[in-house]
C-alpha cells in the first residue's frame, strides 16, 4: 500500500521532469544521440561484422563504401567497427573521470563550505590547481604517472575535481545558513547526517549539471592527450588514438581522421545539449539571463 502510494507520487514527478527537460527539441536530440552512442558501445560486437583489430593489408585505406561505411585505415581495419569499439573506451574513460572527480570534488567542497577552518587551505589548493590550463595540468600529471588507460582517468579526475569542489562549496555556504539546517543542528542531528542528508541533497542540481559538462570535457581532453602521445597507449582504439594514428595518412585518406573526430564532436555536443537542458530545468533563475 505504502509502496504503491510512493510509486504513484514519484513516477508522475519523474515523468513531469522528463517532459519538462525534453520540451526543448535540442535537449531531446542530444539525449537520443547519447542513447544511440551508449547502445552502440554496449553492443559493439553486434554492430558490425568486422573484427576491429584484424589486419587486412590488401584492403588498406579504402574510401567509404557500402561494405566499409567509414572506409578502412592504414592496416585495412574497418573504421566504423573501430569507432564503435572506440566509443566503449572513450565513453568509459569519460564516465569514470566524472565519477571520481564528482565524488572527490563533492567531499572537498562540502568540507570547505561547512567547516570554516578547512575553507582557506582547501580553496587555496583548488585555486592553485585552477591556475593551470586543464590540458596542461593533465599533461604534467601524465608525465608523472606514465601513459596508461587508468592513469588518463586518474589525471583527468584530478584536473576536474577543483571545478566540482568550487561549485559544491559555493552551494554549501548558502545552504549551511538556511533555517532547516539550523533546526537539524538544534535537534542534535549528527554532522555527517547534516552534511550528506541535508546539505548534499540540496546541492545536487548544480553538481549534476556540472558533471554533464565535465563528461564532455573529459572526452575531449582524453582525445587531446592521446593525440599528443601522452595519453592512452596507441594500441587501444579510443577516438583520440585513432585520429592520432590517422594523422600521417590524412593527405591520401581523410576519412581515417574524419570519422573518429566526428564521433568525438557528436558525443561532446550531445552531452553539452543535455547539460544545458538540465541547467534550464533545475535552475529557473538562470534561464532568464542565459
Amino acid at each position: 500500500m505504502a509502496a504503491a502510494a510512493s510509486a504513484s507520487v514519484s513516477s508522475p514527478g519523474l515523468g513531469l521532469a522528463l517532459r519538462k527537460l525534453f520540451r526543448r527539441k535540442v535537449v531531446l536530440a542530444g539525449a537520443v544521440a547519447l542513447v544511440v552512442l551508449v547502445l552502440l558501445a554496449l553492443f559493439a560486437p553486434f554492430a558490425s561484422p568486422y573484427d576491429p583489430s584484424a589486419l587486412k593489408v590488401l584492403e588498406r585505406l579504402r574510401g567509404p563504401s557500402a561494405l566499409h561505411w567509414f572506409g578502412t585505415d592504414e592496416f585495412g581495419r574497418d573504421i566504423f567497427t573501430r569507432v564503435v569499439v572506440g566509443a566503449r573506451y572513450s565513453l568509459t574513460i569519460g564516465a569514470l573521470t566524472v565519477l571520481i572527480a564528482t565524488v572527490a570534488g563533492t567531499l572537498l567542497g562540502l568540507c570547505a563550505g561547512y567547516f570554516r577552518r578547512l575553507d582557506t587551505p582547501i580553496m587555496r589548493v583548488v585555486d592553485a590547481m585552477m591556475a593551470f590550463p586543464d590540458i596542461l595540468l593533465a599533461i604534467a600529471l601524465m608525465a608523472m604517472l606514465g601513459a596508461s588507460l587508468f592513469n588518463v582517468v586518474l589525471a583527468l579526475a584530478i584536473v576536474y575535481t577543483p571545478r566540482i569542489a568550487r561549485i559544491v562549496r559555493a552551494s554549501t555556504l548558502v545552504v549551511r545558513e538556511l533555517l532547516f539546517v539550523e533546526a537539524a543542528r538544534a535537534l542534535g542531528v549528527s554532522t555527517a547526517r547534516i552534511l550528506f542528508r541535508h546539505i548534499l541533497l540540496n546541492t545536487l542540481s548544480p553538481i549534476l549539471v556540472q558533471a554533464t559538462f565535465i563528461f564532455a570535457y573529459a572526452i575531449l581532453a582524453e582525445a587531446g592527450l592521446s593525440f599528443l602521445g601522452v595519453g592512452v597507449p596507441p594500441e587501444i582504439p579510443t577516438w583520440g588514438t585513432m585520429v592520432a594514428a590517422g594523422q600521417q595518412f590524412a593527405d591520401q585518406a581523410f576519412w581515417v581522421v574524419l570519422y573518429p573526430g566526428l564521433a568525438i564532436v557528436i558525443a561532446a555536443l550531445s552531452l553539452q545539449m543535455v547539460g544545458d537542458g538540465l541547467r534550464d530545468m533545475l535552475d529557473p533563475r538562470l534561464r532568464k539571463s542565459l
Partner: protein, 313 residues
C-alpha cells in the same frame, strides 16, 4: 584601495606558493631517479650518486624545495637536461609564437564572439539567437587538433594558401613568421569564441533590462544607438573579463594546437619535455605559465575596478 590591493597581492602570493609546491612535488614524486635519467643507461652507481649529491637530490625533500625556491626567486629555473641550455632561455626562445598566437586567437574570438552575442541578446529567442547558441555549443565540442587537421587539409594542402606547419627561422621577416599563425589562430579563435558569445549574450540581456536603457529608448534614441552606445558599453566590463581569462588560458592551453601546426611555442616545449622526461623544463614552464595566469587574473580584477566605479573596494 591600498588595503584591497595588499590583500589581493597576499592572496596571489599564497596561491603562487602552493603552485610552486605542486609543481615541485609533481616532478619529485614521478617514478625514476632524475639523476639516473640524466646519465642514461650506461651510468654506474657511483656516477649516479655523484650527480645526486651535485644536484642536492640526496638531501631531504623540504630542504630541496627551499633550495629550489631560492633559485627560482633569483630567476634561475635550472638547466634543461636535453636542450643544453637554461630553462629560462628555452622559455624566452619559445615565447614569441605563443604570444602572437594568443593575441591573434583572442582577437578572432572577440571579433566573432561580441557581435554574435549582441545579436543573440537583441533578438533573444529568435532563430538567429538559437543558431548562435547552437554554434557556440558546437564550438566547445570540437577537438582543436581535429579542426586543425581539417583546416590544414583544406587550406594548406588543397588550396596551398598557408604553410602546412612550422613557424620559420628567426632570420625570416616577422610578417612571414606571423603568416604561419593564421590557421592556428583561426582554430583557437573560432573554438574559443563560444564562451565569449555566451558571456556577451548574458551580459547584454542583463543590461538591456536596466532602467537607463528604457530611459534612452523613451528619449527617442534609435534602437541601434541604444544597443551599441548605451547597452554594449555598460555590458563590456564582464565581457572584457572573459576575454582576459581566455587569453590567460590560451598561453598554456594552446598545447595541442601548437603541436598540430608544429609551432615551436611554450606548449610545444612542455609536450616535448614530457615525452623526454626533461623535468627541469616541465617545472619551469608550468611555473611560468601559472604565474602569467595568476598575474593576468589580478590585472583583470584591477581593471574591472578602475573601469567600473560602481565596484566598491
Amino acid at each position: 584601495m591600498f588595503r584591497y590591493l595588499m590583500s589581493r597581492f597576499a592572496g596571489m602570493l599564497a596561491v603562487m606558493l602552493i603552485v610552486a609546491v605542486l609543481v615541485f612535488l609533481l616532478t619529485r614524486l614521478a617514478p625514476g631517479d632524475p639523476a639516473a635519467l640524466m646519465l642514461g643507461d650506461q651510468a654506474t652507481a657511483e656516477d649516479v650518486a655523484r650527480l645526486r649529491a651535485q644536484y642536492g637530490l640526496d638531501q631531504p625533500l623540504p630542504l630541496q624545495f627551499v633550495y629550489w625556491l631560492g633559485e627560482v626567486l633569483q630567476g634561475n629555473l635550472g638547466q634543461s637536461i636535453f636542450l643544453q641550455q637554461p630553462v629560462t632561455a628555452a622559455l624566452a626562445e619559445r615565447a614569441e609564437p605563443t604570444f602572437f598566437l594568443t593575441l591573434f586567437s583572442v582577437a578572432i574570438a572577440s571579433l566573432i564572439g561580441i557581435p554574435c552575442g549582441v545579436v543573440s541578446a537583441v533578438w533573444r529567442g529568435r532563430a538567429l539567437d538559437q543558431a548562435f547558441t547552437g554554434v557556440a555549443m558546437l564550438g566547445a565540442s570540437i577537438p582543436s587538433f581535429w579542426f586543425g587537421l581539417i583546416l590544414i587539409q583544406f587550406f594548406s594542402v588543397k588550396l596551398g594558401w598557408f604553410p602546412v606547419a612550422g613557424y620559420g627561422d628567426p632570420d625570416v621577416p616577422l610578417a612571414e613568421r606571423l603568416w604561419h599563425l593564421v590557421l592556428p589562430a583561426c582554430v583557437l579563435g573560432i573554438l574559443n569564441s563560444a564562451l565569449i558569445i555566451r558571456f556577451t549574450r548574458a551580459s547584454m540581456l542583463d543590461v538591456l533590462g536596466e532602467d537607463y536603457v528604457r530611459t534612452a529608448r523613451a528619449m527617442g534614441h534609435a534602437e541601434r544607438v541604444v544597443v551599441l552606445r548605451h547597452a554594449l558599453r555598460n555590458a563590456l566590463i564582464p565581457i572584457i573579463t572573459v576575454i582576459g581569462l581566455t587569453a590567460a588560458l590560451l598561453i598554456g592551453g594552446a598545447v595541442v594546437t601548437e603541436t598540430v601546426f608544429g609551432l615551436p611555442g611554450v606548449g610545444n616545449l612542455v609536450v616535448s619535455a614530457v615525452l623526454r622526461r626533461d623535468y627541469p623544463v616541465i617545472q619551469g614552464a608550468l611555473l611560468a605559465i601559472a604565474a602569467v595566469y595568476v598575474l593576468i587574473n589580478l590585472l583583470i580584477d584591477l581593471l574591472y575596478r578602475v573601469a567600473d566605479p560602481r565596484v566598491r573596494f
